[in-house]
Amino acid sequence: MTQVDLQKLTKIYPGSDSPAVHALSLTMPSGRITALLGPSGCGKTTALKMIAGLITPSEGNILFDGDSIVGVPTEKREVVMAFQNHLLFPHMSVSQNVGFGLKMRGLDRHTIQRRVSEMLDLVRLPGLDDRRPHQLSGGQQQRVALARALIVEPRVLLLDEPLSNLDAHLRGEMRELIHDVQQQFKLTTIFVTHDQEEAVVLADQIALLFEGQLHQYGPPQAFYERPLNERVARFFGGINFIPGYKRGSVIETGLGQLQCYSAALSDGAVVVTIRPENVAIGRNGSEINVAHGRVESSTYLGTHARFKVSVQAGNGHPPLVLEVVADASSIHLYPVGQTVKLYLPPEKIWLVPAED
């Protein structure tokens, strides 16, 4: 059980103007899974390697349970990193790979053997001891890499893109395995990913980074329900952004006046956002937050249907296009060209600051 604190952690690579990681401050709770999320090149892997001790920070501090570990060499940090491409030592068998960390610590052969077979059972790979890494499938390699990391009982487990090299059905399996193992060991786990879905299904906390800077840190729901800015919302699949002007609980927009319960921002220019699945299409009864538009296109996606609806905005504004996700059967109710009524429930509307 180790709490990891990053304090203004900064890395500037030699010859580079902008920092790869800029003043990153995060408290990653003990025994939980934290995701460092962001597009490639956002500095998330650099941050992970700084925690592992493989990259020296330019500035800032890393604390494990309050003690700085910046001066501690990698091999004494008790932090294990599992790399994206598994990196099983090709000249060693599976059991030699798994037992590597114990051998480095000078444990005797019998103890290593016993712990290795326990660990292979845990990752559900019994009986593969003598195989060579190249004889294993990608999923098996990943499990061996996980077993090799867990066997040394690290204080912190670091995972680099743990699911991205696996195909769809293996991802689910691996996700469960990581989750189970993490629960069992109550291991502080930090992983890096560029895939928001992967972060959402696996992490307790997500830290979203763009260009080395932290944009939002919180539980997964917060990124869908309460994104801090338009960029965060877009990264999590937000697509409807309507500029407006806030006065109290009413926002003037091209769609007309919208009621909204969100009080996060003060009066002034704002951007209204609503997730496509929260827009109700064709529902009668409501008087407020209603707009009429024309179905421009529709896509049938099996479990649901997706519509693009253009709404004529008043006062000479260009028409606004809203994306709506609805029940799959509604694809027949609203053919392209039909005029539909859209309802934007006030409790689902969220405001983000207007970009300059």
Binding site: A52, G101, M104
Partner: protein
């Protein structure tokens, strides 16, 4: 990711033409590589062999008695050659690993110049360099000594060793070392358990080059050894000069022996997948 080669499900019968071609190739190898040794072998046992006789008219073990007898320079020269070639090889490995790593893994300012300077000894005539080095070695007491000869042998050996190791490291993934460190391996453990096994085929290939180059070096040994350090090639040349064909032939066989032996012992590193790592391709 490496996949196990699928076992061949369809067996193709070798066509007649193919098998003839193969035997021709084998024949050519035997004729080209092994046949030249036959005259050497015959010469080494000959006592009298004058033109136009097809075979020696008198046979003798004199040459072989000389080579393996007591009170002769042959065994001593063999010992010198072996010690010098081994020491040169080990030193060149110690130089080649870090230098090859720098050239193969890292980009740095002046890399092209460094590469050129490392290659230079293969282009510049060794005599030109050796004269200057000789003066320096005299000053430091290295001339006419075994350590001096070992050091001067590094000049022609190092380029090959460094280039082989550079190509090894160009195909090497240093992330394995990072992985080992996070698993708790100390720096020497990382080198011993992770780096060394990965670059071992390259060390063998480079070491073979180094050993053979040092083993057959004549000019530099003569200059720096100053007649005090008599290696096998020096002895061989003096007998060849004196016209003693039998002893020259016997020494030649002894001279070739270790090289062939090393080649056979290391052949599994020279062929197949490892050969690519060694930078010399498939043999």
């Amino acid at each position: 990711m490496q996949k196990v080669a699928p076992s061949q499900s369809i067996s193709i019968k070798p066509r007649w033409g193919n098998s003839v071609g193969r035997w021709l190739a084998v024949g050519a190898i035997v004729v080209g590589l092994l046949l030249p040794f036959l005259p050497l072998l015959i010469w080494s046992f000959s006592h009298r062999w004058y033109f136009p006789a097809v075979a020696p008219t008198e046979w003798s073990l004199r040459a072989w008695r000389y080579v393996f007898g007591d009170n002769t320079q042959a065994l001593q020269a063999l010992g010198y050659s072996f010690v010098i070639a081994s020491a040169t090889t080990l030193l060149s490995i110690a130089i080649g690993i870090p230098a090859g790593r720098a050239l193969g893994l890292h980009e740095f300012r002046g890399k092209a110049l460094v590469r050129f300077l490392i290659l230079a000894p293969t282009i510049v005539p060794p005599l030109a360099v050796a004269m200057g080095i000789h003066i320096v070695f005299i000053r430091y007491g290295l001339a006419n000594s075994l350590p001096g000869v070992v050091l001067v042998h590094l000049i022609p050996v190092t380029p090959y060793m460094v280039l082989v190791m550079a190509s090894v490291f160009a195909n090497y993934n240093p992330q394995y070392e990072e992985q080992a460190r996070t698993l708790g391996a100390r720096p020497w453990q990382v080198f011993w358990y992770v780096t060394l096994p990965a670059i071992f085929p390259g060390i063998i290939v480079g070491g073979l080059f180094a050993f053979i180059i040092s083993w057959s070096e004549y000019l530099l040994t003569l200059l720096i050894g100053g007649g005090q350090v008599i290696t096998l090639p020096l002895l061989l040349f003096s007998f060849a000069n004196s016209g003693d064909n039998a002893i020259t032939a016997a020494l030649s066989i002894v001279f070739i022996g270790p090289a062939v032996l090393f080649l056979i012992l290391t052949s599994r590193y020279l062929t197949g997948r490892n050969a690519a790592i060694g930078g010399i391709g498939r043999l």
